[in-house]
Symmetry: C2
Subunit: 243 residues, 2 copies
Amino acid sequence: MTTPGHNDNTDWLRLDRPIQCQTCGVRTTSLCAAMPESDLGRLHAIVSHTNFAAGRAIFYEGDSALNLYNVTAGVVRLSKLLADGRRQVTGFLFAGDFLGLAFEDQYSYTAEAVSDVQLCRFRRNDLTTLFDDYRDLERRLLTMASHELATAQEQMLVLGRKTAAEKLASFLAMVGARTHAEETIQLPMTRADIADYLGLTVETVSRTFAKLVQMGLIRLQTAQTIVVRDADRLAELADAGEG
Amino acid sequence: MTTPGHNDNTDWLRLDRPIQCQTCGVRTTSLCAAMPESDLGRLHAIVSHTNFAAGRAIFYEGDSALNLYNVTAGVVRLSKLLADGRRQVTGFLFAGDFLGLAFEDQYSYTAEAVSDVQLCRFRRNDLTTLFDDYRDLERRLLTMASHELATAQEQMLVLGRKTAAEKLASFLAMVGARTHAEETIQLPMTRADIADYLGLTVETVSRTFAKLVQMGLIRLQTAQTIVVRDADRLAELADAGEG
DNA sequence: CGCTGTCTTGAGAGTCCTCAACCGTGGTGG
DNA sequence: CCACCACGGTTGAGGACTCTCAAGACAGCG
């Protein structure tokens, strides 16, 4: 429906992080949390740190799934395409998230850097070997996959049953939560990305932003800097009285 | 949007199956495939077989996630609700599928029997214990979770970017594949279930069935017995030239 | 300072929804 | 035995939300 794009908003980049597992920023929240402090060396030995500039592809749907990645900085976009160009963004990943789980031999989606991104990469074979010694590592991966699954189901509810305004409110709530935003939410992705994530068009996203502004729920400082003016009503709109 | 319902189509029920792990019908395709033949006794020791009549709930969103289930016969519906009654069906499960993966302490969705259903139930604690002795069991669960994730992302594409006709074609393809249907597809679920699965209304589902008939792609033997007349064009419509 | 890509805004159209009536089937009970 | 009821499914008319097409505004960059 819309074509992939990127912006060069670099607020999400923290390339100044030390690239040692011991001091990694997502050490406690990511896969590696399952490794004892003392054995981090073994993890560090099989990991390689890589950067992707905004807009670059990390891998494409159909590629051989050789690696598993951990996002340590930046924002990643997962998407699937139809032949006629219609695109569905299935998720946005932030620091601490992992990607590449495809226990077939191929990735089932495309992963691209929305902002400049820093990743640590594991070869699946290496990781499998490490699983033999560290049971918790595998167990943690299963836990994280379960979270992903719950998130995916939540997104199906958004896509299938929410209105444009509810979708956008849900989206803002998600980004706000994932980026620990208080009042000001920074959006690293374009309107096209948001549209393809919510099953809308760019125009509708734009118009719906305007509507939320008019309702007094938010204010647009710039197109990608959203100031929340009424968090309660925004949240209410987002879950439409969920549960 | 629509209210849960059920029908008493019992074609999906095979309660005459022996309820021994050794002779279980899904032995080779399900979680248990990871257990060596000789040790099935240990699995059988911690499993209990249960039946649910069509329409009955297996568990509700928010319930403590004490059990993990394996579907051995029948069809299960997973769904999430909004407070105003809007419902999203996030998946249908068939023989060999598992459910209950919620490594939080609560299920994140409701599971209900569409047809009469036969399940085998594991207590999560028992299963975790068994994981210590059988690594493959845990690994297999991770593999199955990965499949689920890929399926969920595929469904997001359907919900976000496909038209009503494409949605219904995708749905028929899915049910056909999962039930090993050749030409005649049996639908155990109601139009309301299908609507809530595809993010449509009952009326639109009904009208779209009529449209597919008119296009010569299918024929309705009864409301729940669909005869495929042009499998190629139906598949083409379903994936809209996917990939 | 003009270019390119993104975002916004407008007008009209279309797909799908809402509301409503009707049909068919299966179960129930008088 | 059959009328009745309940539920699921179909069909129709009108409306609403979102999309399409189009043009203009804005911002970053060479």
